[in-house]
Each structure stands twice: as C-alpha cells, then as structure tokens.
C-alpha cells in the first residue's frame, strides 16, 4: 500500500533553489557518515578547555575562556550562523557526541512520557536559564559558567540515558528550543528534493533508519530521532540538522535547501512530528518566551533595571534579589504578553471579524512575533560579539601562558573588538529587519484570517509589533550597567 504524501511546503513557489548538499566538497563531507562527529570533536575540545579554565583558571570573567567564549563568542556566532544559514550549532553539538559515546555502552529502553511530549518543560527550563543568568550573574562567573556546561553534559547523559531517541533535544534542551525558534528565520532548511521520489519509496529510511539487509532489527544508519518524516516535514522546527535523514535516504533525495526566511510561518500545514502550529499552545508559548525573553535579557544589562529593582524591593519590603527579579520576569513574560496579545486578538475578532475564538487567534499570531524576538537577540548578542570580537586572542594567549609556556606571546588585553559607534547601526538593522519580518507575517496572517477586512485585523498586531520594536530600540540606547551586585540604596 502506498501512502499519499502531500508536501506541506509546496504552496510557496520554489524556483532556482540553492542546495548546500549540491556544492562539491561540502556535499561529500556532509554525506560522510562521520561528518557530524568530525564537526563535534573541535567543539567538544573547546568545551572541555572552557570547563577546565572556568574551574581552575582566573576568576575574573574577562580573563577566562569559560565566560568569554560562552557569553561573547558562542552566543554571537550561534545567532549569526542561524541568521545566515541554519541550525548548524545543533549539528555540531558536543553534548550529543558524548551522548552517542555513552549510548555505545548502554541503550535506553523507555520512551519519553506521553504527557511530556510537548515544549512546556523546555519552556520552563528556558525561562529558568534566563532567570538564573540574571540572578547569579553568570556572565561574571567563570566558575558557574563552567558548572552550567558540566550540568548540561550531565543532564543529556541522564535524560538520553533513560529515554530513547533524541528526547533531550526535542523535549528538554532549552538551548535547542532557542535554536528551533530562531531557525524559523533561517534561509536554509533540510527538505526533500523531489516528492515523487518519496512517493515511490518503500523503505522510508529517513525516519526508520537504514537496516541491515539480512536483519531488519539491526540499524546501520539512524533515521530522524526527532520524529520528522521528511516528505511531511515543513520548516525548521525541531530539526537539529543532524543529517541522519540525509545519510539514511537511499535515493539521495534530501537536501539542505534555500528558502525565504520565515516562509514556514505564513502557512499552517500539518507538520510531521509537530502537527498544526495553530493548535500548539506550547509552541506559541515558546515564541512568546523567545520574543519577550529577548527584551528581559537585554533589560537586565541596562541602567533602568536597577531603578526598577530598587523601587520593587522597597515596595515589597524585601532585600533579596530573587523575588524582585521574579516579579520582573512574571511581568515581562506573562502579564505583558497576556495584555498585548490578548488585546490584539480581541480587537482582531471585534474589528476584523475573525471567526477564530480568542485563544486560537492569539496562538496563531504569536508565531509572527518570532522575527522581532530574533532581531532583538541578534542585536543583543551581536553587540557583545562584535564589541568583544578579538578578546578570544588575549584570553587564549593568557591560558597558554598559564600552562608555563608563553608560546603565543604576551596577552594583548587592549584587543577588544569593533567600537560601539559602528556596532549600534548593525543593532538597529537587526531590530528593523525583525520588525519588517513580523509586520509582513502578521499582514499575511490577517489576509488569511479576515479576507474581507485584513487591515482591521492587521492594525492591532502591527501596533503590538511597533511597541516591541520601540522597546527594543529604547533598550539598545540605554547606558549599559552590568552589575553583579544588588544595590539597595
């Protein structure tokens, strides 16, 4: 019996697509079975060096590899690579290399609990990471940054040691969820080349894995561990770019193909391993946390937060930072989105004549905020990356010198990066790009939702986008005041 396969992404016109796996050299490398391992090994090495420097190296963050590499270079490169290409950091994830080695020693037997097969747990962890980052000023602590990395290795070994497939990546990893949300805006996507080939394929190796010819129980090449069946996969959500499907496909029918960024948010097909975006409240919540979390994360770095914290601590009669920060997080991540998105959804129904109930309307449009959120993450992480671009040089020189040999010369501590005056226009560009993307998406959704009065449905959401954009620009021009102390007076 053959299954009818309808490509969910074919609604968009696709001509002259670029395919990274058609580029000579790259194609050969990425089709190689050990391609991922080769990419993971350098990152694992760097991770281990960072952990060692974080635990045993200088306590001052700007002098330590753990803090400098994590909070400047890794975060900056991550968002820039996702913007320019795709989710390649998940591809080269060093945590997965350790997991794969561990899985050679033992195999998990359990399936991930059915009730947890959603994004709620990972959203809580994502918020927890943002909260802990602010509360314990992780950027200023090599020690805690190193433990964060160690904790990540331990968590993946425990989760994927107990549960089958890529449970950690799909349902737990907060960093992975960030990458999934951001990669909705990427220009590259892993996608089948010819649906007709999939239609005639009997083995479905891309999802089942390639089996030993003599024994169907022996898998010689994994299929997708995140339950994304290539012919029905649409977009980058949940895709770690692991290349398992590329290497498993016996017809060489899976490519890393170009597309218009965010185009997957304009349609709402039934996606393999995900379902309909419009019915996934957890994914919508992820988009909200992704977008408003970008503002909170940046707000924690500028002067006004200390004024707000002082005011709140006086109001609440508390001297600890945790409850004060808790109130700020609740306001930014729950109250503010509830008021803004709830209000816009209500107006879309009242003025635009949308027939969707209130909550599904808010869910549907919340995905359109992803470009704005990504724009703010890019502006923030890009700022630190560009202004501290060269700091990896003196930090590495210093680390080598501490080993007893001054092989790389004296540390050039004055080497930092691009001056702020040149970086600020880049930041504005990222926010502007995100704003334009969100406006485009909300307009497209409004056209689909309220064919007769699309502008009436669009205007409330455009107002929400404008507010977020203005807040982002305001934050960007605030004086930075990166304190690791809670000033009560």
């Amino acid at each position: 019996m053959s299954t009818e396969l309808h490509a969910p992404h074919l609604e968009l016109e696709e001509v002259h697509e670029f395919d990274l796996l058609r580029v000579r050299g790259i194609s050969k490398l990425l089709h190689w079975r050990h391609a991922r391992t080769v990419l993971q090994i350098p990152l694992l090495f760097v991770s281990l060096v960072m952990v060692l420097d974080g635990l045993f190296g200088p306590r001052l963050a700007p002098k330590n590899m753990a803090t400098t590499f994590t909070w400047l270079h890794f975060r900056g490169l991550l968002v820039l690579v996702i913007l320019g290409a795709g989710n390649f950091f998940c591809l080269a994830c060093p945590f997965m290399l350790v997991r794969n080695i561990a899985r050679r020693l033992y195999q998990p037997r359990w399936n991930w609990p059915r009730k947890l097969r959603n994004k709620w747990l990972s959203i809580v962890l994502f918020v927890a990471v943002l909260f802990v980052y602010e509360l314990f000023h992780l950027w200023s602590s090599p020690w805690w940054t190193a433990w964060l990395i160690v904790g990540y290795f331990a968590a993946i070994l425990v989760v994927d040691g107990l549960f089958k497939h890529a449970s950690f990546c799909k349902f737990v990893c907060p960093l992975g969820q960030f990458n999934f949300a951001a990669s909705l805006l990427s220009p590259l996507e892993i996608r089948v080349r010819d649906q007709a080939v999939c239609h005639s394929c009997d083995t479905k190796d891309c999802i089942r894995g390639r089996r030993e010819p003599k024994s169907d129980l022996v898998v010689i090449q994994r299929g997708c561990e995140l339950a994304l069946f290539q012919p029905l996969k649409a977009g980058n959500m949940d895709c770690t770019f692991c290349l398992d499907c590329v290497q498993a496909c016996p017809h060489d029918n899976v490519g890393i193909r170009s597309r218009m960024p965010a185009s997957e948010l304009m349609t709402d097909p039934a996606r393999s391993g995900i379902g309909l975006f419009s019915r996934r409240k957890d994914l919508a919540a992820l988009m909200i946390v992704f977008t408003f979390g970008a503002l909170v994360n940046a707000f924690g770095m500028v002067s006004p937060i200390y004024v707000v914290e002082r005011w709140l601590s006086a109001l609440m009669h508390v001297t600890q930072r945790a409850p004060v920060l808790g109130v700020i997080f609740v306001f930014f991540l729950i109250v503010e989105p509830f008021v803004l998105l709830g209000g816009a959804a209500w107006m879309t129904r009242i003025f635009g004549g949308s027939r969707r109930p209130l909550v599904p309307t808010a869910v549907r449009y919340s995905y359109a905020l992803a470009p704005l959120g990504f724009g703010m993450w890019l502006a923030h992480y890009g700022f630190h990356f560009f202004t501290g671009l060269l700091t990896f040089i003196p930090v590495t020189q210093s680390a080598v010198a501490r080993l007893g040999r001054n092989l790389l010369g004296n540390p050039l501590w004055t080497w930092t990066g691009i001056p702020v005056r040149f970086v600020q226009p880049i930041e504005l560009g990222f926010i502007g790009l995100g704003f334009a993307g969100s406006l485009l998406l909300t307009h497209r959704l409004a056209e689909d939702d309220c064919a007769q009065h699309p502008m009436r449905a669009f205007i409330p959401w455009a107002a929400v986008c404008l507010l977020i954009c203005l807040a982002s620009v305001w934050l960007m021009y605030q004086p930075m005041e990166m304190r690791a102390t809670f000033m009560m007076s």
């Binding site: 001052l60 909070w71 037997r109 040691g161 002067s303 005041e481 000033m487």
Partner: protein, 143 residues
C-alpha cells in the same frame, strides 16, 4: 520468564542495572566540585587603598595605595601598574600607572568608561623583582 518489577511504569531492575553508570557520573561531578575548591595564598605584603570620588562614578578615579611588608614597614621603589576591567567579558579594559609620593605611598588614576561593576587589578613589581597581583572590586559605578 524473567519477572521485572514495575513501579509506576518504571522498570526497577533496569534502573539497578544502570545505576552503576549514573553513580559514576554523579561521582565525577562531586569529585570535580570538591577537587577544585579555590584557595588563595596568604598575602606577603599589606596593601591599603583609598579610591575617590565617593561614590564612584563614570570618569576618572583617583587611587591611593600604601604598600607595607609583613612587619608593617613601607615598601618603597615598587612599580604598580593599574588595570580596570568590567565584570562582563568583552569590554575594553582601562590602564593607568602610579607614582610614589612618599615611602610606601603610591597614587594613580584610571578613567572608568561605563557604569556597572569593575575590578581594579594591581600589577605590583616589588624592588626585589618579585611580582604580586591583587584585585579590588569597584561595585556599582554610577553613570
């Protein structure tokens, strides 16, 4: 037939089989934590400092230092280089030099370029050539 005890859907035998791995993992984590407890060597010199203005704001900061040995005798002819770093990585450090104004008394200046938490590093070269590093936290610099 092998009988396995299931509690709340959890296979306890399987858990026991794998407990050795998780025990090993936990041990590594604990040992790493215990093994790398930080200790600071006891100072061989006594340094006192006064930094103005109070409270510290963005701009020039005057630093007055006194150096003495363990017997409280002032240390003259030392060289003290100043370096101030932000608590956050990636920010440009600022540098300054000191001059000796009286035996064991040194004065210098650094210009703090932004608000927030700074760490002032003292790179001290003693008259006998021995080098000593000390750091002073400058928290909550106002804009």
């Amino acid at each position: 037939m092998q009988i396995r005890s299931l509690v709340g859907g959890w296979d306890l035998h399987l858990l026991a089989e794998r407990s050795s791995f998780f025990l090993l993992l936990a041990s590594v984590v604990v040992l790493l934590g215990v093994g790398c407890e930080r200790r600071q060597s006891s100072p061989e010199i006594i340094i006192t400092h006064e930094i103005k203005p109070k409270p510290l704001r963005v701009g020039p900061a005057e630093i007055a230092l006194t150096l003495a040995d363990a017997g409280s005798r002032p240390i003259s002819r030392a060289h003290i280089a100043l370096e101030a770093d932000m608590a956050h990585p990636g920010m440009a450090p600022v540098f300054g030099e000191t001059r000796e104004t009286a035996p064991g008394h040194y004065q210098g200046k650094v210009s703090l370029t932004m608000g927030g938490d700074w760490v002032l590093l003292l790179h001290i070269t003693l008259p006998n050539g021995q080098t000593v590093e000390r750091q002073i936290e400058l928290n909550g610099i106002e804009q």
